[in-house]
């Protein structure tokens, strides 16, 4: 059976700028930064979660034709793509920290039935949820 999701692709507009955002703003750590021919494999992980890697990739050949790549980039830039939900131990505290580092939030920490949630965008335009889950919804 499948036991976990280990890698998720995040489409970004520029790998260097995304790397700076995810490490300097979000506080993630570089997991792997390796180049093979002209393919750069760049992954980052939340601190203490090296088993979960976000793969930061720019849409383009050969995965996508030029037109498709431009369409995906446009969707990312327009903020149409939501990449996932992060968890935090303390939503308000993390919100304050990330806000002070210049992260753009779309919503402030708010009580939901599953926990306290705020939403933000990365520097490319992808939106994420950041949730402090309540005990009854901690997934265990």
């Amino acid at each position: 059976m499948i036991t976990a999701l280990s890698h998720t692709t995040i489409w970004v507009l520029d790998q260097d700028e995304a790397l700076e955002f995810y490490t300097q703003k979000l506080g993630f750590e570089v997991n792997t930064d390796a180049t093979m021919d002209d393919f750069r494999w760049l992954t980052v992980s939340p601190p203490e979660r090296p088993d979960y890697e976000l793969v930061l990739l720019v849409p383009g050949a050969p995965m996508m034709d030029e037109q498709s790549a431009e369409q995906v980039k446009a969707l990312v830039a327009k903020g149409a793509l939501g990449a996932g939900a992060f968890e935090t131990e303390h939503c308000q505290k993390t919100y304050d920290e990330l806000s002070s580092r210049g992260v753009t939030f779309l919503s402030e920490p708010t009580e939901r039935f599953y926990g306290i949630e705020a939403t933000f965008r990365d520097n490319s335009g992808n939106w994420f949820s950041m949730t402090q889950r309540t005990a009854a919804n901690d997934g265990n």
């Binding site: 890698h7 792997t32 390796a34 093979m36 494999w41 990739l57 050949a61 050969p62 995965m63 034709d65």
Partner: protein
């Protein structure tokens, strides 16, 4: 104008067939059947959807798979050429050099000395196929 979504679904099935069975003799009629399209319509629609002809895509996939074998196995260049569906070593070497920019043996030597990069194979499959821009640069564009 974009193709309707169901057309993309059928075209993708033909593309998936090439990804999966690249070593087989896959001709345009067989691929067109997979895409539920006539031969002429299939080639035209495929190029419109993916920016390259089925022939280009299959050749690139074979060369990408060859790169993987050359990096991560001890197979000879001849064995690799057969493994990825080429009938002649000469045509394999010529296509490899045109798309990769070096000979298969030089490529194997370089990566076997350096060690395979720490990139999951599923991502190299999707992201390291020698692509069309290089095709055009090298002047090896062919029609299916």
């Amino acid at each position: 104008m974009h193709e309707p979504i169901p057309v993309y679904v059928h075209l993708r099935r033909a593309k998936d067939l090439m990804d999966r069975e690249y070593a087989r003799e896959l001709d345009v009629p067989a691929l067109a059947r997979e895409a539920h399209a006539s031969r002429a319509h299939f080639v035209r629609s495929f190029k419109k959807a993916f920016g390259e002809t089925p022939h280009q895509y299959l050749l690139q996939r074979r060369i990408e798979r060859a790169k993987e074998f050359l990096r991560s196995t001890g197979l000879s260049v001849t064995e690799v050429s057969i493994e990825v569906g080429f009938r002649s070593l000469g045509s394999f070497s010529a296509a490899f050099r045109a798309l990769v920019g070096e000979s298969p043996s030089d490529y194997a030597r370089r990566w076997r000395a350096a060690g395979a990069p720490p990139i999951p194979a599923c991502f190299t499959l999707m992201h390291t196929r020698p692509h069309r821009a290089l095709f055009e640069k090298q002047g090896t564009d062919q029609q299916a």
